[in-house]
């Protein structure tokens, strides 16, 4: 990690000024749980030469009620999100996903903004944010813009952030009335585990036990976490049943292969992603008050 300059932005304006000055050579440091190991590991040519510490910017931390949704500061830690009463009540899916990130120590340091901007294909909070219809507010000295989560993620570890931009806020849609959510993470062990796959589901119960609306997102099944709109269309308007869960699982597996191709891991992931969706649907439907 030698030869890396360190600077600190005391507020958003300072941070933006520093980023504008150093551009692609600079990386924002929030919780450091992704950046610091990357600095240790990456080849010198791929390293940022400047680390801009934004961890102390209080304005970027915390959860606020915005009426129609929640505004989550990017510096809010996973531990804080998992325990936040507003998030637990209005967007329980996000709290659930945050509670499953890494380990106790990683959740205490790591931030949701860091998890989002690192843009790992298996990031735990991203499928939840996608299924919550999250919007990312970006700021730069040139002004601000807002992108839906799906447009923000470009490729593995690559986002739509311009070199002078900062993720300044995350707007999270609230669970609709009659809604329920479910999140299933599969890892190789019970803590400090990178998701082998994860599935996030939001369902809204309509009249006559039918699914009025479905949102389905998954991690580690495509180059970036994505929504599966065809699976959502299959679910919407249908009656929940084990057979429907099976159909939806098979559809998700097909969509996964369409997105990623047949890979070495496909013989495992194909049946398992279907099973994980089945469980997430069951969990979400139960929480929406639906009969199994």
């Amino acid at each position: 990690m030698r030869g890396i300059a360190y600077c600190r932005g005391g507020n958003v304006e300072e941070a933006l000024e520093l980023k504008a000055r150093y551009g692609r050579d600079a990386a924002f440091l929030a919780g450091g749980t992704d950046l610091v190991p990357a600095l240790r590991r990456r080849a010198p040519g791929q390293l940022p030469s400047v680390v801009c510490d934004i961890a102390g910017i209080g304005a970027l931390r915390g959860v606020a009620d915005e009426g129609g949704g929640l505004l989550v500061g990017p510096l809010t830690t996973h531990a804080a999100i998992a325990a936040d009463p507003l998030v637990l009540r209005r967007a329980p899916l996000l709290a659930q996903a945050a509670s499953l990130v890494g380990s106790c120590q990683v959740r205490a340091m790591g931030t949701i903004g860091g998890n989002v901007c690192n843009a790992s294909p298996c990031a735990d909070t991203l499928p939840a944010l996608l299924a919550c219809d999250a919007l990312f507010a970006l700021r730069s000295p040139r002004g601000g813009r807002t992108l839906p989560a799906g447009d923000f993620l470009r490729a593995p570890y690559e986002t739509a952030l311009a070199p002078d931009e900062l993720l300044a806020g995350i707007r999270v849609g609230c669970l609709p009335p009659g809604g329920g959510s479910g999140f299933v993470k599969l890892g190789r062990r019970s803590a400090c585990s990178i998701s082998r796959m994860s599935v996030a589901v939001v369902l809204r119960r309509g009249e006559g036990g039918r699914i009025a609306e479905a949102r389905v997102a998954a991690g580690a099944v495509a180059p970036v976490p994505v929504r599966f709109v065809r699976v959502e269309a299959l679910l919407a308007g249908s009656e929940m049943s084990p057979a429907l869960r099976g159909e939806a699982g098979a559809a998700l597996a097909r969509e996964m292969i369409a997105a990623s191709g047949v890979r070495w891991s496909t013989p495992y992931k194909e049946p398992v992603v279907a099973a994980l969706l089945g469980r997430a649907l069951e969990e979400a439907w139960g929480r929406a008050g639906g009969a199994p």
């Binding site: 380990s103 599969l186 062990r189 019970s190 803590a191 400090c192 070495w264 891991s265 398992v272 099973a275």
Partner: protein, 262 residues
Amino acid sequence: MFGNAVKLAAEEVRATLAGVAAGMLGARAEEIELAEGSAFVRGDRGRSLALAAVAGEASARGLGLAGSGWFRAPRTTWDHETGKGDAYFTYVYGANVAEVEVDTLTGRVEVTRVTAVHDVGRAINPAAVRSQVYGGVAMGAGYALLEEYASRGGVPLQENLDEYLLLTAMDMPEVAVGLVEGNDPAGPWGAKSIGEPAVEIVAPAIANAIFHATGRRVDALPASLERVLLGRALDEVSPPAGGRPEGAGGLTIPLGDQEGAT
């Protein structure tokens, strides 16, 4: 065997301490006993000194409280031709029972409980022996379920513990330890070894428990998600059995004069 050498070394220190204590208590060295942090005259607990005081006096007199001991293991014999002989001078026995829960849709195995019973000779410090067994179960269960080391072209692919996975505290099963004591003639105060035995039989017990749960054998370790669900590993880097890793070029390593090499 190390324990025998330690015992001999400690006896030297004991003799030094007993000599100093004898002088301080007006007794003969043979009459001194050392126990529970004190030195006292046998049969007269009233004539007693704290061991720390005796050690302080030894130090003041310039007597070093160090000793050395060496021990040679009893001779063993082994005839490779006939497979006969006294290959070991003592044997350890143990039995493990593993209880697992297998997620049959994902292949995820959770070890819920391990009962580990070991023949340890004399348990000089039973708490320490049980600790060895707890550690052995953690290590053996990691070996059974997670630990995997791969290399490509001779370069290790797991360089750190973020990739070479061990059990976390959250994965540890409940462990019930049973110590079956005896008196081993070859060990210090009759003790046998427990470090290695505590590790070795955990994975076979877990593999058998997986078979009992699923009806299907896992015949290679670790019993990963893929092996348990599909019955085979899905590894983008491991060569098929007997094959060469990608990137190893045409390099062949002569087998030398091993048996069966042609």
